[in-house]
Each structure stands twice: as structure tokens, then as C-alpha cells.
């Protein structure tokens, strides 16, 4: 697109790139905000159905589909409270740190072939590193709130997320090793074809790694049963106890977009990215490169595949949230250090051996 603009419109290079950057940012920001709204609504409906309730039914006509928007308006209109003894500057900054970390990680996430804001040759590394920054927002919020409950939540989050990044990183290294690259687009491309080409089914080790990744991903985005940082029955609301209104909603949005992000990452690393279980496009003889309109069609198909997979991941997280009780902090740490990390390490070694024994796949 950049070349197209430069060559046919005659725009100067710097302007083109700036325009494209703004365009990507706007698209991603809207996707993230819109996605979060949809997921918040979905969480309400899913939890309601799990619990024998109806959930929102009236806002916006059928199914209460405008509920999240109505909530957003309510949050905008809410009084903005700040504890008297709070560290004012950090208290204000914290939600944006969380939100920006979550938002920035989307820049490296491809949604379909060539549909990525910035194709990085270290895409995986970038996404995981930036996502890890989210914890700073939570720690800042907990510290700046001048509330003991918030501080508890923040310290739990710090301990938990930092620990879980170790097994999470080990799990992510396995597909990277199989693909031989850290570029997310290439990793997904290598899994094209039938669903048996997905890294999930590459060998027994990757299959196990996927589930370890799922556990660690749930823990690293603070969802039940690992939602220790905001453990409602223990810490009132954890790190966001003192937050209200729009600031609180930024934490909320960050949580939902992180959920989508880790699910999307799982889709790309293990579930073939935008390649569907059945290669419809290649069976029909179409490919991304074949002509303007068919190429766009194939890409849209890929986008639907990717969004579907990531949404399934999010729904899975909702399902376990509304089913399982919460673990205790020491049990969370035990799960990470005694189970997830060793299993991930062994599986990593196993996958490595597999690759050595069957270099071309089995």
C-alpha cells in the first residue's frame, strides 16, 4: 500500500508512512475498543447463560447488544474519585500504562495474511515483551491507591505475572523453534494446509505445550481461576479497588483486549493462524496472490478464521472463569513453578529432540 501511494499519488515517503501509521493506529485502537465492548457483552451473556439467567435483554433491542456501550456512557458520567492520600500522578498514569501496553502489543499481531500493522521479524518477542508491560500499570495502580487491599493485589500480580512469564516464554519458544523464525506471519504461513499441519498436532510435545500455554496465558492475563490480583472475595477488588469511572474502564478494556491478544497468539502459534481447518481457498485454487478481488476474498476468509479462533479462546476463558473456584496465591505459584515450568521445559527438550529425529516432519 505504501508503494502504491508513493508511486501513483506521488506523495512524499515520510508523509505516506506517517499517514499509514496513523491509519493503523486508528484501526487497531477501534478494533481493540470495539472488540473489548463485544467481549464484555459476550461475557455478560455467557455468564448469564451458564448461570441460568438471561443477562442483558433490553438495552439496544434484542439480546441487549448495546449494554457495553450503555455501561461505557455510565462510566463516563461517573464521578471521578481519587483517594486523598493517593499518589496523584501515578494514580492517573496507571490505567493508561496498562491500556497502552495492551494496545501496543496489537501492532505486531497479524490478523490475516499481510494484515498486520507492522510486520516484525521478531514479532513473537515483541508481543510478549510489550504484553508483559501491562503488569506495570497494575503495580502502579496498587501502589498509588494508598489502600492496603490495592497493594496486596499489586504485589500478587507482580509475583504471579513475572513468574508465569517463564513457562509462557518456554511454551512460545517451541513453535518458534519449529518454524525457525520469530516472525508471526511466517509462523502462521508454515501451518497452511489441512489442520494436521497446525503446530498443535505437529508432535505430542507441542500438543502438551499448547495446554501449558493456555494455563499460563490465563494466568498472565489475570483471569479466573488465577484472578488473584483482583480477588473479589479476598481483596475487595484488588488493585482497582479505588478506581472508578473511565479510569477503571481502561483497566477493564485492557483486561479484555489482553485476553484477545493471548488467544490470538495461541491461534497463530498453535492453531494455524488464519489457515482454516480445511484449506478451502487452495482447494478452490485461490490464493492470496491471485488477483485483486480473489486475494481480498482469501484474506477476508483468513481474517474470519483468525477472529473465530481467537474468539473461541476468549470464550474458553469465560467458560472456566464461571466454573472454577479461585486458587490461593501459594497454589498459583506452586502451579507455575512446580508444574508449568518443568513441564514446559521437558516439552521444549522433547520437541527439540523430535525435530532432530524427524527433521522434515514425520
Amino acid at each position: 500500500m505504501a508503494e502504491y501511494l508513493i508511486q501513483t499519488m506521488g506523495l512524499p515517503g515520510w508523509l505516506t508512512w506517517s499517514l499509514l501509521a496513523v491509519l493503523s493506529a486508528v484501526l487497531i485502537l477501534n478494533l481493540m475498543a470495539g472488540g473489548a465492548l463485544v467481549f464484555i457483552w459476550a461475557e455478560r451473556k455467557v455468564s448469564a447463560r451458564i448461570q441460568d439467567r438471561l443477562g442483558p435483554t433490553r438495552t439496544g433491542g434484542r439480546f441487549g447488544w448495546l449494554q457495553s456501550l450503555a455501561d461505557g456512557i455510565k462510566l463516563l458520567a461517573k464521578e471521578d474519585l481519587m483517594p486523598e492520600r493517593a499518589d496523584k500522578m501515578l494514580f492517573r498514569v496507571a490505567p493508561y500504562v496498562s491500556f497502552c501496553a495492551s494496545f501496543a502489543a496489537f501492532i505486531g499481531l497479524p490478523f490475516a495474511f499481510d494484515m498486520v500493522a507492522l510486520r516484525l521479524n521478531v514479532g513473537v518477542f515483541y508481543v510478549v515483551a510489550v504484553l508483559g508491560l501491562e503488569v506495570f500499570g497494575v503495580i502502579l495502580a496498587g501502589y498509588a491507591s494508598a489502600s492496603k487491599w490495592s497493594l496486596f493485589g499489586a504485589m500478587r500480580e507482580a509475583a504471579q505475572v513475572v513468574s508465569y512469564e517463564v513457562p509462557l516464554g518456554m511454551c512460545i519458544v517451541v513453535p518458534v523453534m519449529l518454524a525457525g523464525t520469530m516472525d508471526l506471519v511466517t509462523i502462521a504461513e508454515k501451518q497452511s494446509g489441512w489442520f494436521t499441519n497446525w503446530y498443535l498436532f505437529h508432535d505430542p510435545f507441542t500438543f502438551v505445550v499448547f495446554w501449558v500455554y493456555t494455563t499460563c496465558a490465563v494466568a498472565s492475563v489475570n483471569r479466573a481461576p488465577f484472578d488473584l490480583a483482583e480477588a473479589e472475595s479476598e481483596l475487595v477488588a484488588g488493585f482497582h479497588t479505588e478506581y472508578s469511572g473511565l479510569r477503571w474502564s481502561f483497566f477493564y478494556m485492557a483486561e479484555y483486549s489482553s485476553m484477545f491478544l493471548v488467544s490470538g497468539l495461541a491461534a497463530i502459534l498453535f492453531l494455524g493462524g488464519w489457515n482454516g481447518p480445511v484449506p478451502i481457498a487452495s482447494l478452490l485454487g485461490l490464493s492470496e496472490g491471485s488477483g485483486e478481488s480473489t486475494g481480498a476474498f482469501v484474506r477476508l476468509l483468513g481474517l474470519a478464521n483468525f477472529l473465530g479462533k481467537a474468539t473461541l479462546g476468549v470464550l474458553f476463558m469465560m467458560w472456566i472463569r464461571w466454573t472454577l473456584p479461585r486458587l490461593r496465591i501459594d497454589q498459583v505459584m506452586t502451579t507455575c513453578l512446580k508444574y508449568c515450568t518443568p513441564i514446559a521445559a521437558v516439552m521444549f527438550a522433547g520437541a527439540m529432540t523430535w525435530l532432530w529425529v524427524f527433521p522434515g516432519g514425520c
Binding site: 492496603k148 481483596l235 464461571w322 473456584p325 501459594d330
Partner: protein
């Protein structure tokens, strides 16, 4: 001089320790079951001391009881344990009847059993659901309330109220059951019975649930007795005591001819653990898991009692009898009676002086005694265990503060 020693780098290096923190849990905390306030002294996540503060729901019910007639006090008992109003009504009614040497008719007796046991199920359902909430799972709470709602519908049909019933009263009950009620009650039981397995799957046998409750807050039988614990808290520690079987004759006579086994662990097994989950390896007698499990067993036990009561009640031909007049005089003398309420042994003490108004009214709350062991149970537990332990005691602040 001491300043110099304190500043010695060698001492500082080996004397690094974290400061203790004083945290206030409640009375607006989401998991303190109403308005309980706990002052926690913690070292990081580890709780070293818990001090319960009560009194936020004090409404002088006992003093009010000295200014109104014995029957007028019934609505105040509803508001003590507001989750088991029927059982509270029953406790007070029996105490007054004991003083007045009244005996209710056979029909009223069976209806009382029926209603009291339904109340027990309703109360245990809240206890179970709220316990799930304390452990961070929201869904069982709503499942429990869904079933409780059906019991409340039955109560509403019988007496017109859903929470504060004043149905069981001195000398009998305020009204007989409406037509068709027994059939609907039976339908509820048949609907409810298979659902209990789902609760076991969601909570009792859930690995995370067992991890969170097994071996936590272990209450030894001796300590339970020393602190005056009662109800499922006492039976969860393996002490075989149930007022319905071991109480005073006027109360046990109510359950005459009813077959039930007290839900308590004897020789390592529960009376009904054939049909229900086995005790997990992590659970220790007297811990949160056992207290919870005893409640679950009592729900089944109450269902069987209700079935028996339905049969007996429908076989009764006589009348329900009339409750005493509002301003009925109560004889001089004093009386104390404990009944088995869902939360434990609820005792009422009253002194009559020949007028309609009692001269003295006191209530002995089971939740109060059960809560008093909390500081003992919370030594060295984690913050997350505090709601787990409080929830397993299943307290109701309305009863503690009266």
C-alpha cells in the same frame, strides 16, 4: 547506646524483616457475610492474628422482647437468623410453649417438622452458594438461589412472606397449608434431588475447591466443644450431637417416629457417603471441607425428613389447633430451650411473671459461638483462607448481633 547497636550494619543485615500490617476487613468487605468486621494483623500474605468486631447489626431485639407479649416477639425472631426464619420462629415458640406447658396438635407437629426442614434446606443452600462465592466461584451461588427461590415460593404460598415468615407461632401455626401445596412440595423435592449431584461436581469434588478447603481451618473436637460450637461446625469436627435427637423432650418429641441419621463422620465414614462423594485425601476432620460437606449431607437428610413429614401430615385427620392469643398471659417461671437451627443450637431463655410480657428475654446465638473460634482457626493462615474459614462457619450477623 541502643541507637548505636541498631545502626550496626551487621545487625541491620541480619535483622531485615518485613513490617506487620494491620488490615481492616469489613464491615463493607464483600465476603464477611453482612457486617462483620475483622481486624487482621498480617505479615505479607500470612495472617498472624484475627480479631472479629461485632455489633454493627445490633437492634436490641432482646430488650424489645421484654416490652411486648411473647407472641408479638415472633417477628423479631425472624430477623435474627433471617436466612432461616422458620427455624427461629420454631425455637421461640417451643420455648414459650414449654413455659406455658402447651402441646400442639399432632397435625401442627408434623407441619412444623415439614416447614422447619424446608427452612433448613433453604439456609444450607445459601450457606453453600455463599461459600462458593467466598472461594471465587460465582455460579454455584446462583444455582443455589434458583433452588432456594422455589422453597421461598412454597413458603410464600403457605404464609404470604418470603423472608420473615412468622408462620410457626406459639401454640401452632398461623394458617394451614393451601390446597395442592403438598404436591408442589413433593414436585420440588423430586426436581431438587438430582441437582445435588451437580453441586457435588461443582464444589465438593472439584480439585480446586478441595485444595482451597481441605486441611484449612482445622477445628479439633475438643476446641469445638470448649468454644461452644454447634450445628454443622461441631459435627464437621466429628462430634456426634444434634439437638433433634439429643435435645430436650419437648423438642425431640417433635421428631418422634422420624427416621434420620445425624450427619457426622463416624469411624472415618459419613452415614451416606455411599451415594455421595468420598472424602478426599486432602481433607482433615474438622476442616472447612468437612463443615461444608456436613451441610450438604444435611440437605439430603432434611429432604428425607420432609418426605416423611408429608406422609404423616397428610395422614393426620385432626385440626391444626389455634395459636395462643396475642396478649396471652405467660405463667411465672423461667425456661431455656435449645433447638437445632441450620446454623447450630439456638437457645431462647425467658422469664415469665404472670403478665403477657416476658420479664426477661435472652437468645443464645449459635453463630456467635461459632464465630468465636475464628481467631483460633486463623493463626498463620493466608489472607485468602480467611474468607474460606469465615464462610465455612456460615455465620449470620443478624443472629450474632440480634
Amino acid at each position: 547506646m541502643s541507637q548505636v547497636i541498631d545502626d550496626d550494619p551487621r545487625i541491620i543485615e541480619f535483622d531485615v524483616r518485613t513490617d506487620e500490617m494491620l488490615v481492616n476487613m469489613g464491615p463493607q468487605h464483600p465476603s464477611t457475610h453482612g457486617v462483620l468486621r475483622l481486624v487482621l494483623r498480617t505479615d505479607g500474605e500470612v495472617v498472624s492474628e484475627v480479631e472479629p468486631h461485632i455489633g454493627y447489626l445490633h437492634r436490641c431485639a432482646e430488650k424489645i422482647g421484654e416490652n411486648i407479649s411473647a407472641r408479638q416477639f415472633i417477628p423479631y425472631t425472624d430477623r435474627m437468623d433471617y436466612l432461616a426464619g422458620m427455624n427461629m420462629n420454631l425455637g421461640w415458640s417451643l420455648a414459650v410453649e414449654k413455659l406455658m406447658r402447651l402441646q400442639v396438635t399432632e397435625k401442627a407437629r408434623h407441619l412444623r417438622v415439614l416447614i422447619a426442614e424446608l427452612g433448613r434446606i433453604a439456609s444450607h443452600l445459601v450457606g453453600m452458594g455463599a461459600y462458593g462465592l467466598d472461594l471465587g466461584t460465582f455460579s454455584p451461588f446462583l444455582y443455589a438461589f434458583r433452588e432456594r427461590e422455589k422453597i421461598l415460593n412454597l413458603f410464600e404460598e403457605a404464609c404470604g412472606a418470603r423472608l420473615t415468615y412468622s408462620y410457626i407461632t406459639v401454640g401452632g401455626l398461623t394458617a394451614d397449608l393451601p390446597p395442592g401445596w403438598l404436591g408442589r412440595c413433593e414436585a420440588f423435592l423430586n426436581e431438587f434431588e438430582p441437582i445435588i449431584r451437580e453441586y457435588h461436581a461443582l464444589l465438593t469434588t472439584n480439585a480446586i475447591f478441595v485444595k482451597r478447603t481441605g486441611g484449612i481451618g482445622v477445628l479439633s473436637p475438643e476446641m469445638a466443644i470448649n468454644y461452644g460450637c454447634s450445628g454443622p461446625v461441631l459435627r464437621g469436627s466429628g462430634v456426634d450431637q444434634d439437638m433433634r435427637r439429643d435435645g430436650e423432650p419437648i423438642y425431640t418429641a417433635m421428631y418422634d417416629g422420624y427416621a434420620f441419621e445425624v450427619a457426622v463422620m463416624k469411624d472415618g465414614t459419613y452415614p451416606r457417603d455411599r451415594a455421595y462423594p468420598a472424602v478426599p485425601a486432602d481433607a482433615v476432620l474438622g476442616d472447612c471441607w468437612h463443615r461444608f460437606f456436613v451441610r450438604m449431607l444435611e440437605v439430603v437428610q432434611s429432604m428425607e425428613l420432609i418426605r416423611q413429614a408429608i406422609d404423616r401430615y397428610s395422614a393426620c385427620t385432626g385440626s391444626l389447633g389455634e395459636p395462643v392469643k396475642i396478649a396471652e398471659k405467660i405463667p411465672a417461671g423461667d425456661v431455656y430451650l435449645e433447638t437445632e437451627c441450620p446454623k447450630g443450637q439456638m437457645g431462647f431463655y425467658l422469664i415469665g411473671n404472670g403478665t403477657p410480657k416476658p420479664w426477661r428475654v435472652r437468645a443464645r446465638s449459635s453463630s456467635f459461638s461459632n464465630l468465636s473460634v475464628l481467631p483460633e482457626l486463623c493463626h498463620g493462615c493466608l489472607i485468602a483462607d480467611v474468607p474460606a474459614i469465615v464462610g465455612s462457619l456460615d455465620i449470620v450477623m443478624g443472629e450474632i448481633d440480634r
